[in-house]
Symmetry: C2
Subunit: 372 residues, 2 copies
């Protein structure tokens, strides 16, 4: 299955009914491709909480579209703005770690504040959600262009031999509106004829690697190989990884990165084997208010069902099996923090920088000034 | 479910028919407890190859019992010794990484060589296989006693607060004849009233952590918590791990350790967080002939089915589901090598030593002399 990635979107208005937002139910991939209708903001919140949509940029976009749905519903109340604000509070509580959620909600609320009394709230929020999505596509594309330069350099050093990229979780097109963050350099490199192969970490417990990254790389004809999360260190020791690129759910202004649980282990292995470890991110995932990733980023703990149960195909049916016997406690931490010292660079839409206060301030002087 | 660990065995002669060896089919745990008959050495080889038995010491013991079965079958041929030798060749090819397999086969063949023409081959090999098992139980117990001292020390430092041990894969009673290697210090500590809690890595792809280690710890009443393989680094960063103890399939005479894929990543995290990382092993897993783990230990690649399919309970039935869509390549490396520099110490039946040529030579001067 290959497709035209240019036209791919993860969230959109229903073509024949713009009071409904549509998403791909990512909990069903790769076994079923199911499009879900979101008819009100509560369904949007539920989609974020239950991870029908996931990935920091897509969570933000879904929150923005959910406020648009709240504006429609609120237009039948006495105080539509209060209705939207209440929806924003509920949406803000769906996931604790990704900072884009907060960012998208604040952006939409800011637009409402700045607009006059006579504005059409529904059109205003529709246009804002659409802008967030369109800008995200452009951001991802630019991350791709900047990151591609790294892959080009490695391809040259290897005299055109295949460039092996290792990635963890899904920071792909499915985590954004299109192109992805960690995958964007890969898609751009493929378009420019660079020979790239991707090692895909399975990414337990939710298997976003085997179920989402494999799906989208296969769909777009990118050569890739699935491995268990335990295997990346071994491959790095044996010279089979040229570069690691992951996404991030929140980056501190000092360059610490909170990302899917297990990212820290891969960063350690890359460091131990002198392999460049890059994190790709839209500047919207930078939390300018915090300095220390280890103490200031809340780490989400999710339902232990994600660890004890695995979903897959049994014959022609999708089935869930329980892998653990009763009688064992389970903990399910969703993210870990990779300290800046283990990261080679941050690939953003504005260029690549060192993971440090100075590096980020160079690329984003206005934000950095406001934060300090 | 708690039981008397003293009486536990992973392999034994069938009580009413000593021409049959019995094992627990570990591929069925924890969902089903199935005892399998091994009626000839080919069934023994198959049990090793298909991992009905696994764990370096138990693989060795199963190989020894399989030669006993070959002696029975061979007694009806013209040249029983040749029959047994041929069986040893086939058994030696079942798994490439664990050195105990080679060790056990060599030991049994050596006993045959040293015995006179008039020996009863069947009784000789029965008695040798039994000795290997009895010695292994004693070895594991002694590993437990030496390792327990480390846990006692931590308990004292923490003024009796619970000691958190992290382990990877199953180096438990199920990997040996009883007590285990990595788990032996834990079982001994429990008997001595030390408050121990174990973080159990799930251990993809075969889930030996969630399916075997959890099963045996629950069975023996040891408090434990299952986590995905990705989570250990996060726990170490947050001070929730006091010590790591793993097993090993092969240890070089310089202290490099080949163990279940992913061990290296945990050793890196322990090192980064100044947490002691110990490897528990019977001296039979030391390969005195090799010096460099990275270049000299063959790393087994296993069937990709182990990665793509997961077994568990669906209602009251055991089912296997396929988690990956077609169209993705898969690689399945079974082991990785943890360099000695990341290991705090080796816990053996003769005491604890530094993971180095000098450290091992101090504990095992005869072997070291012969190797050099």
């Amino acid at each position: 299955m290959t497709a035209n990635i240019q036209n791919f979107r993860t969230i959109w208005l229903k073509p024949d009914d713009p009071s409904i937002v549509q998403i791909i139910d990512q909990t069903k991939l790769p076994h079923e491709y199911v499009v879900r209708d979101l008819s009100n903001y509560r369904e949007g919140a539920q989609a974020i909480r239950e991870m029908l949509v996931r990935g920091a940029p897509l969570i933000g976009a879904t929150a923005a579209w959910s406020l648009y749905l709240a504006a429609i519903e609120g237009s039948e109340t006495e105080d539509p703005v209060s209705f939207v604000k209440q929806a924003a509070i509920e949406l803000g509580e769906t996931r604790p770690t990704a900072v884009n959620l907060r960012w998208a909600l604040d952006r939409v609320l800011g637009v409402i504040r700045q607009s006059g009394e006579n504005r059409d709230l529904v059109s205003l929020l529709r246009s804002e959600a659409q802008s967030i999505c369109d800008e995200d596509v452009e951001i991802s594309w630019n991350i791709g262009v900047h990151g591609c330069a790294l892959l080009e350099e490695i391809a040259e050093e290897k005299s055109g031999e295949v460039v092996n990229v290792l990635t963890h979780c899904n920071a792909g097109a499915l985590a954004t509106i299109n192109w992805g963050t960690a995958t964007a350099p890969i898609y751009v490199a493929r378009q420019r004829g660079i020979d790239v192969h991707v090692w895909v970490d399975e990414t337990r417990p939710r298997n976003q690697g085997s179920q989402l990254t494999c799906w989208e790389l296969a769909r777009n004809g990118v050569p890739h190989t699935l491995i268990v999360d335990n295997a990346g260190g071994h491959l790095m020791q044996r010279g089979q990884v040229d570069i690691c690129i992951t996404g991030t759910d929140r980056t501190t202004r000092t360059g610490d990165v909170a990302n899917k649980i297990g990212t820290y282990l891969k960063a350690l292995a890359a460091h131990d084997n002198a392999i460049p470890f890059y994190v790709a991110l839209p500047s919207t995932s930078i939390d300018w208010t915090i300095q220390d990733g280890m103490t200031e980023i809340p780490i989400e703990e999710r339902d232990t069902h994600e660890v004890s149960h695995v979903r897959g195909m049994h014959g022609n049916d999708v089935r869930e099996v329980k892998t653990v016997a009763d009688g064992s406690a389970i903990r399910n931490y969703a993210f870990d923090v990779t300290p800046a010292r283990l990261i080679t660079g941050l690939i953003t839409e504005c260029g690549i920088c060192e993971p440090s206060e100075e590096g980020l301030a160079r690329l984003f002087p206005d934000f950095a000034k406001r934060a300090s």
